[in-house]
Symmetry: C2
Subunit: 108 residues, 2 copies
């Protein structure tokens, strides 16, 4: 196991607090990531493919927050870090919250 | 109109952004206020009756944030500032969000 893979700490959505879930979705950059993930199939998007107005370090931080909130699952495939939105599991823990976030972005 | 009453700026829930709504409910003290309001009838609770671990100034700030997010309506009645949870209007704007917040506080 590489150091890179070891750094991928995930949280089961069932273990996520309401506070952590709200904190995770309260950031507009993270909502953009969630909406783009929801628009495509699982594991289709690598982290680097998101057009975000932030530094690489900040981007990594946002993905770490999303993992810790049970919203995103990641796995490394060669040089790419692929993503899956954990929609069914998160919906079960916090019904309706992702639907609100994923609605028309003009809602922001 | 007294200076005190003039200071009561409200926002129609229909005009509230998702960002402002999420920011408002992301604070645990504000969630406590919302849950206590939901537990009783409209206009039954004055601001001073909430047992909150904050200063008076911070308490006023929390209520101002809740008003600005379309979550709480207030009116002065003599020396008391009474509160109403704007549940139907807020539910219409952000379906399901208040239900999540008002659920069992152990969800925090």
């Amino acid at each position: 196991m590489s150091a890179r893979t070891r750094s991928l700490t995930h949280t089961d959505p069932a273990e996520v607090s309401l506070q952590d879930a709200l904190d995770a979705v309260s950031d507009p950059v993270r909502r953009t990531i969630l909406r783009e993930l929801a628009a495509g199939p699982d594991w289709a998007r690598a982290c680097g493919t998101f057009d975000l107005p932030v530094t690489k370090a900040t981007r990594s931080h946002h993905f770490a927050v999303l993992r810790a909130a049970g919203l995103v699952e990641q796995r490394d495939e060669g040089p790419r870090r692929l993503n899956r939105l954990r929609r069914p599991e998160f919906d079960q823990r916090f019904p309706g919250l992702l639907d609100l976030i994923l609605a028309d972005p003009t809602a922001d």
